[in-house]
Amino acid sequence: MQVQFTEDGIHLPEIGLWLDNTQPCAAAWLSHAHSDHARGCHAQVIGTPATLRLYRMRLSLAENQEAPKMFPLNFGESMPWNGATLTAYPASHILGAAQLLIEFAGERLVYTGDIKLRPPLAGDTTEVIACHRLIIESTFGLPIYKLLTREAAAQRIIRFAQECFDEGQTPAFTGYPLGRGQEIVHVLANAGFRTAVHGAIAKFIPVYEDHGFRFPGWETYEAKAIAGKALVVVPDHGRVLESSGKNIRRAYVSGWAALDNARLRGGAEELIPYSDHADFGELLELVERSGASHVDVVHGYTEPFAHILRSRGLSASAPQRASDRTNIEAEG
C-alpha cells in the first residue's frame, strides 16, 4: 500500500484517505479529538462516535460552510472504503481515541494515532493489532521516560491532595482540557474529595458521563470558593492560581513530569509522571507484539526511536521531518 507522509498528515492515495490531516481534505480519519489531530473542516470524516462528537464540539464552522459528512465507526467494527477495509480499535489515549487497521490488497497496515498501551485512569483498554506495517507515535520514545501505571498515578494524586488538605493548603492539579483533565477529576471525585473543575475541562465531562464514567459530586470551579476543594485546572490557570497569593500547591500530571526540569518549566512542586501516551517500554512492547515488518515513527522522538528499533534488528524509519520536540509545550 502506498503511504505518503506530508507536513499536514499521512496520505493513502490508493484509497483516497488522509490520516489526521490538519488541512482540509476530501476524506480524513480522525484518530482522536485533540486539536493537533482533528482540526480543519474536511468533506468527509471517519472516527469513533465519541471522537466525532468531541470533534463537532470543537469545530467552528464559518457561515454557509457545510458541515463534514461523518462516518462513525465503533471499536471492533469494520467498514469498506474505496476497496479497503477499515477497522477501529481502542487506543486508550483519550475518550474515543482509536487505532485504525487498514486492509488493502492483502496488506495489513495499522495507524496508532496517539496511543497508550497500559490501562488509563479513565478510558478504554487497548489491544495490540497484528499487522505488516505499523505507523506509530513516539512522544515518549526515549528510554528516560518510564511512566506510572494507572494505580500508582491514582495513588500519587490522592496522596498529594490529602497531604495538602492535612496542611491546610489547597491542591491544584493541572491537566489538558480534554483527556488528562477528566482523568484527574475521575480519580479525585471517586476518592471522595470535593473537586472543583475549570470550565475548559468541565465542558467535556458530560461526554465522559455518557460513556459510562462517573464523577460523583464534582462542581464547577469558582475563584471565590476554593477552600477545602481539590482544583483541576488547565496549565495556564495553574500559574494564575499560584501567583494569586492563595495557599495553593500545584501538581503537574504529565509524562513530561518524568524529568526534574518539568518543575522549572511548569512551576509545579509535585511531579506525577503519568500520561495518556505510551512510555518508552510500552512503545517497544507495542512494536514487538504487532509483528510488523516495517515501522514508521511519526511523532515525537521519531529519529532516535527509529534508530533504537533498527538497533534491535527491525526495519524502521522516521519519514516525517523529525520534529525534535520543537514544540516543547506538546501535550503529553
Partner: protein, 558 residues
C-alpha cells in the same frame, strides 16, 4: 547515602524554604558525627576525597579532584546500560543533568544494594585514586550497576557539583543549626570565620562553635561588589566610603611575622608569581589577612591589565620580567589582625587596622585612598578623577557594613564603565543549564572579516530577558545549519550589542582576539549582520588598550 538521596529528593519537592530546611534538619539530626561530617560535606562542598576538606576554601596544593568529568560519566553509562552514544546524547540533552539521566536509565538494571555515606566516601576516594580514565570508567560502571538509581542520581550530582534542589549554603547552615539545636546565627558566624561547613557542623553538634577560629594560610572567600548600573541609583552618597576601583588581580595576603602567602580569587596561590610582593610583606610585623589588588604600576600609575597578565601565567618569574612589569599591592580591607577577627566588625575599625598594618610599609605596599562624597555630583567627579588616575571607576563601601566572604550583598557597590561595546553577530548557540536547559541561552558571536565572512570573538550568556531568550530560541532554531549535541551552528543573522572590559589576544577564537567579561547589552533587532562591527575595529580597540586608559570621555554610565 540512600537516606541523603531521599532527603534531597524530598527537598526538591517543596518550594518553601522553611520546609526544605526542616526536611534537611530531620535527616541530619540522627546522624552520628562521622556521617554528619560526610553529609554536610557532600551537600555543601562536593565529593572531597579527604573528609573535612572544604573544596571552596582549602589551599591550592591540598586540592584533590576526582577527575571524573562528563565524558567518563557518560561512557560508563554507555557501558552499564548498553545504550549507544547518540541515544545517550539526546537523553542527556533532554534532562540537562548527568545524575538524573543516569538514574533514569539505570532503573531495572542495578542490584539495588544499599550505600552508606561511608561507602560513598570510599567510592569517591577510589575514583580519585584510579590513575587512568579507563580505570575510572570501569569503576563507575560497577558503581552504576550495584547501587540504587536514586542514590546514583545524587552520587553523580555531588561529583558534578550541582544538586539543583533549591538548597543554598545558607539553608544548609540553618538546617545544621536546627539539627544541633543551636542558634542559626552562631553557625553562620562560625562558618564565616572558618569557611568549612562540615567542620562547623561537627563543632555545632559538640557544642564547640565558640572555639572555632579563622585559620591563617587557608584562603577565605572574598567579599564581592554588586554593580551599580546607573549613578542615579545611589540613594545617599554620604552613606558610603568611596575608593578607586582597580583593574588588577584581586588577592588575599596571609602573613605571620615573616611567613607570607598570596591567594587569588580562584583560591590559587600566587606567592611565587609575585616574589617581590611576598618579600615586602615579610617586613610587616604581626599576623593577619589583608584583601587587596595586585596592579602593574609605573610612575605612580597603574598599567593596563593586559600588561599585568604577563605576570600571571608563570609559576616562577625571571628577574627581568619583574623589571619590565613592576607590580605593587594595593590593600583595601582586612579580615584578621593579630588575634582579632575583623570579619564581623564594621568597616571603620577594619580600615583603622588596615592603616595600622600598612603604615611605614615598604614602597611596594600601598593603601587604597578613601574619598567622601556628599552629593551625586561629588561621586561623578570622583569617578572621573579615578579614571584620570588610570583606574576603572569607583568601589563604594557602605558605612558600618561587615565583611561578608563570598557574598555580593550590595554592601559594596562598583561603578564602572565598559571599556567598549561592539555590535556582533550570533554564529552558534548552546542550550543553557537548569532553568534554561530548554532554551538556547548561551551565544557564540563574531565580527565581520575583510573577506566578507565572520570570525568568532567570544561567548556570552547574560544580559537578555527570559522572554528575549525564548524569542531568540525560536529564531535561532529556524536559522540553524548544524547541530552538535547541545550546540547549534546558525546562519549569521542576529545582531547583539555586547559590552566588555577589555580586548586580549587569544588563540582560542578565529578572530585572534577575545573580549574580557563580555555581556549582552541589547538585541539589535534594527541591525542586519552586514551592519555589525568588523575585525579592524577590534584591532583598533586592542591597540588603544596597550596605552593607559583614556582619561577623556569617561563619564560614569548614566
Amino acid at each position: 547515602m540512600d537516606a541523603l538521596a531521599q532527603a534531597c529528593e524530598d527537598i526538591a519537592r517543596v518550594s518553601s524554604k522553611l520546609k526544605k530546611i526542616q526536611r534537611l534538619a530531620a535527616y541530619l539530626q540522627p546522624l552520628d558525627e562521622c556521617d554528619l561530617l560526610l553529609a554536610v560535606q557532600f551537600l555543601s562542598a562536593g565529593p572531597a576525597a579527604q573528609p573535612g576538606v572544604n573544596q571552596t576554601l582549602f589551599p591550592a596544593e591540598e586540592k584533590t579532584s576526582l577527575s571524573v568529568g562528563r565524558a567518563i560519566i557518560r561512557e560508563a553509562l554507555q557501558m552499564a546500560t548498553g545504550w549507544d552514544r547518540e541515544i545517550l546524547r539526546i537523553c542527556f540533552s533532554e534532562t540537562g543533568d548527568s545524575g538524573e539521566t543516569a538514574s533514569l536509565l539505570l532503573r531495572g538494571l542495578s542490584a539495588d544494594e544499599p550505600m552508606a555515606l561511608r561507602d560513598a566516601e570510599q567510592l569517591y576516594t577510589q575514583l580519585s585514586l584510579a590513575r587512568t580514565s579507563t580505570r575510572k570508567r570501569e569503576l563507575l560502571t560497577q558503581i552504576y550497576l550495584r547501587y540504587r538509581p536514586l542514590t546514583i542520581k545524587y552520587f553523580i550530582k555531588i561529583i558534578t557539583r550541582g544538586l539543583r534542589i533549591g538548597l543554598m549554603e545558607r539553608m544548609v547552615e540553618e538546617a545544621v543549626a536546627l539539627a544541633c539545636a543551636v542558634p542559626a546565627a552562631s553557625v553562620r558566624e562560625a562558618n564565616n570565620r572558618l569557611g568549612d561547613l562540615p567542620q562547623v557542623a561537627l563543632a555545632a553538634r559538640r557544642g564547640e562553635l565558640a572555639s572555632i577560629e579563622t585559620r591563617l594560610f587557608h584562603p577565605m572567600d572574598f567579599m564581592l561588589a554588586k554593580p551599580l548600573e546607573r549613578l542615579e541609583d545611589l540613594a545617599d552618597p554620604a552613606h558610603w566610603f568611596i575608593e578607586d576601583k582597580y583593574d588588577g588581580i584581586r588577592s588575599q595576603i596571609h602573613f605571620d611575622n615573616g611567613q607570607v602567602r598570596i591567594f587569588s580569587r580562584g583560591m590559587e596561590e600566587l606567592t611565587q608569581a609575585f616574589p617581590e610582593i611576598a618579600a615586602a610583606w615579610k617586613n610587616i610585623p604581626g599576623k593577619g589577612i589583608v584583601d587587596g589588588e595586585l596592579l602593574a604600576w609605573r610612575d605612580g600609575r597603574p598599567l593596563n591589565f593586559n600588561i599585568l597578565q604577563q605576570r600571571i601565567a608563570r609559576k616562577r618569574v625571571r628577574a627581568t620580567l619583574i623589571q619590565e612589569v613592576p607590580v605593587i599591592f594595593m590593600g583595601y580591607d582586612v579580615l584578621l589582625h593579630n588575634d582579632t577577627l575583623l570579619l564581623n566588625k564594621s568597616f571603620e575599625p577594619r580600615r583603622q587596622a588596615l592603616e595600622s598594618i600598612l603604615e611605614n610599609a615598604p614602597p611596594l605596599l600601598h593603601i587604597s585612598q578613601q574619598h567622601k562624597a556628599a552629593t551625586l555630583e561629588d561621586v561623578d567627579r570622583l569617578f572621573r578623577e579615578s579614571r584620570e588616575r588610570g583606574n576603572e571607576g569607583l568601589l563604594l563601601k557602605r558605612k558600618g557594613s561587615l565583611y561578608e566572604p563570598g557574598k555580593r550583598t550590595g554592601a559594596w557597590r562598583k561603578l564602572k564603565r565598559p571599556f567598549g561595546t561592539l555590535d556582533v553577530v550570533i554564529t552558534a548557540a548552546e542550550q543553557g543549564n537548569g532553568r534554561r536547559a530548554i532554551y538556547f541561552s548561551d551565544y557564540t558571536f563574531a565580527v565581520r572579516t575583510p573577506s566578507g565572512g565572520f570570525a568568532n570573538i567570544g561567548k556570552a550568556y547574560s544580559g537578555l530577558t527570559n522572554n528575549e531568550i525564548k524569542e531568540l530560541t525560536k529564531i535561532l532554531r529556524a536559522a540553524s545549519t548544524e547541530k552538535f549535541g547541545r550546540v547549534i551552528l546558525v546562519n549569521p543573522e542576529v545582531v547583539l550589542e555586547v559590552a566588555f572590559d577589555g580586548v586580549q589576544k587569544s588563540p582560542r577564537h578565529k578572530s585572534g582576539y577575545a573580549l574580557r567579561f563580555p555581556r549582552i547589552l541589547r538585541w539589535r533587532k534594527d541591525k542586519k549582520s552586514d551592519q555589525s562591527d568588523d575585525l579592524a575595529r577590534v584591532e583598533a580597540l586592542y591597540n588603544s588598550s596597550l596605552v593607559s586608559p583614556p582619561a577623556s570621555n569617561c563619564r560614569p554610565p548614566a
